[in-house]
Amino acid sequence: MVSIDVWNASVDFPIFDAKTRSLKKAVLGKVGGKIASDAKVPIIEALHDITVSIKEGDRVGLVGHNGAGKSTLLRLLAGIYEPTRGAARTVGKVAPVFDLGVGMDPEISGYENILIRGLYLGMTRKEMQKRVDDIAEFTELGDYLSMPLRTYSTGMRVRLALGVVTSIDPEILLLDEGIGAVDAAFLDKARDRLVDLVRRSGMLVFASHQDELLFELCSSALWMDEGRIVKEGSLREVIGGYKGKDPFAHMSKEALERIGESPVLTTKSGEVQ
């Protein structure tokens, strides 16, 4: 049932400078006809001709340089941006965790933020009230939850956001980089919960620069560059291609054990076997 399909989708951002964002040009521009079309607003092609299909049970990692279009793709999948060309369809209950500073109100308490975030994600007030204790326990924020959010550190905000999305049983979980801001102990706890959640309910798309985290949470990967998908396939293959070396070669033994992979599969020349 749960699925994401994107057909030849492009996302173009118009960049309005102070002048073009006013009525003046739109009104005056009409007169000249052709000039108006020449004096078009500059456009940034954030995504170009993307076609992906993600099925239930898929755990996809997004890799790529800064500005490659990972976050924009996540927003497209969340339905925040509808493609300028092409089409996209997301079926299932989506829970995004993007940029962690925004989307939460710094002036209100952690509890209130939990409630509002839950309401945004399609829960009812009653359902959220039932989950508040669970979230409080998981995030270990305790009395801090009644403090305004502006007193929270970045890591505490991540805890809160992860607490909410993992408690509401979403079918599609979209995570942007930044969840790495939490400490190791909490990350362990969150990892278990995320893995469990994805096994149970569906789908994960996760953008990150941390190989270990990607290997622990994802099963396949997309490599993006300049708004296009460069490579699609197994995690090892794609990350190997992106980094130009086998990702396992530099991981600690413990990390590899946790992932359940055997170490060192590279040849002497450094190529992936």
């Binding site: 006013s22 969340a78 509808e82 089409a87 309401l119």
Partner: protein, 299 residues
Amino acid sequence: MAEQQTPLPPDIASSRSWTRAFADIREGLHRRELWSHLGWQDIKQKYRRSVLGPLWITIATGAMVLGLGLIYSTLFGQEVKYFLPYLTTGFIIWQFILNCVTEGSETFISNEGVMKHLPAPLTVYVLRTLWRQCLMLAHNAIIYLIILAIFFADLLPEYTMAADGDSPVMPGLNWEVLLFIPAFLLLLVNAAWVVLLFGVVSTRFRDIPQLINSLITLAFYLTPIVWSPDLLASGGRGFSHFVVQFNPLYHFVNIVRAPLIGQQVEWLNWVVVIGFALVGWTVALFVMRNYRARVSYWV
């Protein structure tokens, strides 16, 4: 923007379709808990850490009405017992209209952060703004009830606004007070398209909120709120008639105000307000269909 349409898979409605536009409105209405919570949160937020809290809304309006009422009734030689209820009611309705227009044009701009991080129908933000205005209105309505209680006996029989008795006779409070219910609902229907349309257009053209802010005070003085049209009548009927009847805001104010203070609603009020609702919603729906998906790109 000229868009080159690639053939879509058959089962998906295009971003610019009525299906998607109406789905947005339907889902938005359905998420009542979200927008009602956000609307109330906005008000609590504004008065956070103040002792009296949202009661300040009531106090501010009360002070304004009392001050303006005493000054203008003296200036225009009107009787306070008729003029104060008139001004109070008009001013409260004006506040509602004013906020719908000014805050409506900021609906999406002020929600920029959330809109880029959590998916939600546009209608949710429209209803959040609208609900906030309704809550403000409810706080202001207390002033009306107080004024009404004080001057109830004076408004009950027939009366004339001006002290010299030269102006039209008002029927006084009777069952027609109930007309304020359909009138207010019509005002709400109009407020909804105003917030939606102005919100979308202002997101694209950032001059619109500035334009509105610079003209709205003038509109306040052009609309019979601190003065009554009867007053102009004594100067020159033709002119006053023109200024008042061709000001749509007059009709919106009067349709709700008149029943509440025992005055007659003109049939023209109903025609204009219903007409605006029809035309406004038609335009707003077209904008919704064509530009709904663009708003998140523009904010």
